[in-house]
Symmetry: C2
Subunit: 178 residues, 2 copies
């Protein structure tokens, strides 16, 4: 079950696994060692090295909110954002909506295979509160691409472990090509 | 025409007025003096002092993105955000969408007359690019309020001078009251 879970949700933390299986974090660590599953940081690194074949075109990489770990231009992209103190309401440690939006929106920009990418509109949903310390994995997928009209529709779904926390559909402008 | 324009859009800058009337900024300044219309900074201050009778309940004032200059809880609110270098894409000096979203979303939170206000969903449109140095005036209006179900719908329209740049409808959660 541990192997299966990590395969399906590779960016799950040991803490989240411990909670999911109702065991201690120490148990998760020992079981990972036994099964030769590397720790989260190594898993992220290996995914990033393997799959970031394409380069972001539409904006400098350091202007992307979150860390991009997968990118195939005009196809799909994945980024991870760790929710820290500066991302939450001081009163209840719940992540502020605009940070989840910023991660998803900048991923929708980054996935575009064009020097120009601007957001025209978006339809978004916050499906579960995200707390400080949680790690949000955003997955973007280009669902419609009309180069003649210069429009791209990008769907973004964000998760904490395997729970959906945010979803959005972004309509993006790009250069027109005839 | 100058008096009328400033009355309708009190947060317009001298630069924007000069451009609108195709005259120099100096001409606008002299005409303002002659008509005894105070400069923008003074106009903002006087509006803020006059109308901020209500206090933000749902979050600390310094967590609002932009400066709130008008607030009537569960009714309407206005905030101003000056677009600076940290708000724009380095490549083209166009304001990044998530900053306009953050201003609107935090205003939609601030207008709620409740200790708890969280965003459930939003439907947004970016109608014109905003450039560095421009001043965005966001106006929020509570369009639907269901205290029993704990739902509030807030419409936000943002402008630069009199041009619409952003619009959004936010569905907000609040505490349930029976």
């Amino acid at each position: 079950m541990l192997q299966q879970t990590i395969k399906m949700t590779p960016f799950i933390t040991d803490e989240e696994l411990a909670e999911k299986f109702k065991v201690s974090i120490q148990t998760i660590r020992l079981d990972r060692l036994e099964l030769s599953i590397p720790e989260l940081r190594e898993r992220i690194k290996s995914v990033a090295e393997k799959s970031l074949e394409d380069e972001v075109k539409s904006l400098p990489l350091d202007e992307v909110i979150g860390e991009i770990i997968d990118l195939e231009l005009d196809e799909h992209a994945i980024s991870i954002l760790e929710i820290r103190r500066e991302h939450v309401f001081s009163r209840n440690q719940i992540a502020r909506g605009h940070h989840l939006f910023a991660q998803a929106n900048s991923l929708a920009v980054a996935v575009i295979d064009d020097e120009l990418a601007l957001t025209a509109k978006a339809d978004i949903r916050f499906t579960r509160q995200v707390k400080q310390g949680e790690r949000v994995v955003a997955k973007a997928k280009v669902v419609k691409l009309d180069k003649e009209k210069g429009r791209t529709v990008v769907g973004v779904n964000s998760y904490v472990a395997d729970e959906p926390v945010f979803s959005g559909e972004f309509v993006m402008y790009r250069s027109k090509q005839s």
